[in-house]
Assembly symmetry: C2
Homo-oligomer: 242 residues x 2
């Protein structure tokens, strides 16, 4: 983080000489919590213009201004990979979002399955959680978190060119491997709910032309473990770890 103590996401344009107005929350965090003052450095990113070093130009109780100095990293979007997951208990749902950001998913899609129990999913909170994870892990990109969608409906209009990797428990113990395909293609990973998929859902998934079933080892993984393991497997094979 060089000499800047804070890395902050802002929903504003960044560029040489650009002034960035702070929200009241951001001002509170920078000036009251982190105790920054005029001239102190901050790293900024907005998901579009890379990462910029900025300095505090003016600070106030409920606002303030930063001035962009120089770009410190270009925009590095993750590969075109979506993560679909069935939300679980709140703490683990937050973890999955955090891990999807760290592991480099481009889009996070919570899905409702037969055995999903998630009436009260707060998309805005999950989005804030994704931003926080991006601030922490040095990403210059923040994946979109969509609203909860019915898995059924999503599959009914699934893009023809987007492969769907699925940790099929029926393959437990078989070799974990992905087919030999070119990189740079659109993909998604589907992580099931704690209770597993219903039989009708499994039948539906197996019949999907875009499906790529994969084994995730001989033990049963919790959803959040499975998400990180599947993302690792994919990134090693087709993504930005290779």
């Amino acid at each position: 983080m060089s000499d800047a103590k804070v890395r902050l996401y802002v929903d504003q344009p960044l560029g040489a000489g650009q002034a960035v107005a702070l929200t009241a929350d951001q001002a509170h965090y920078l000036f009251a919590v982190m105790r920054l003052g005029a001239g102190d450095l901050v790293l900024l990113f907005n998901g579009r213009d890379g990462e910029w070093r900025a300095e505090v130009a003016a600070s106030a109780k409920r606002g303030g201004t930063l001035a962009c100095l120089a770009q410190t990293a270009p925009l590095q979007p993750p590969p075109d990979l979506w993560l679909l997951f069935a939300p679980i208990k709140k703490a683990r749902t937050d973890f999955i979002v955090e891990k999807a950001v760290e592991m480099g998913a481009a889009r996070i899609l919570p899905v409702q399955t037969r055995f999903t129990n998630a009436e009260r999913l707060r998309q805005d909170k999950l989005h804030a959680h994704a931003i926080e994870a991006a601030e922490q892990c040095g990403a210059t990109f923040v994946p979109e978190v969509t609203d909860l969608q019915q898995l059924d409906r999503l599959l009914a209009t699934w893009p023809a060119d987007r492969r769907l990797m699925w940790g099929d428990e029926g393959l437990a113990g078989q070799t974990a491997s992905l087919p030999d395909l070119p990189r740079g293609q659109p993909w998604a990973i589907l992580i099931g709910p704690e209770g597993g998929f219903a039989e009708t859902e499994k039948t539906r998934l197996r019949a999907l032309p875009q499906i790529v079933p994969v084994s995730l080892g001989p033990r049963i993984l919790r959803a959040d473990t499975a998400a990180v393991a599947a993302l690792t497997l994919w990134q090693l094979r087709y993504g930005d770890w290779a």
Copy 2:
């Protein structure tokens, strides 16, 4: 889990016709929480004799007896892989132990580094957490969780034949790959603390003949994410996912 609703670790011998006496805690869980009664089925494992189907022979308020019927799975120990990690906040430490069990580590070693803050690590609680994870993930083995040890001292007597895989942040962005070595050899994975290693520690690690530095992708991973990702990478290359 077939027709058994409960999978339970017991620290007692298992075998055909073997009677298993329950502790007060186990009796409370089976009879009060899960409401099992005489003749109901339970799956048992002890980390040594595989998994056994057993039935409730006698139930009481503070005890009871199960009778082993038949083995349902042989003992499947994980590969000879240790996970060393610097404990962090309690919730994430618990997660790392849980994930190490699911991902198949044979031994879990919390280590004290320069930047580790973990005076109050409860080895007994972490061991109980490992047992719970094994009950959940279908493992027939429970990794040992050692007491907190100084990393320095551990490295001073590090076994000559045990390679140590280390997610070196200095390699961020390089290709994540492990050398072409035969399987079945002793290994360990080292996951650093949130604040990273001190420079003196990095120098020490890089000079260790058994060290195998590896990149874990272009983003900075939290310790618990890094643990799952590193375990996935290793299991795919040398372990029981391959």
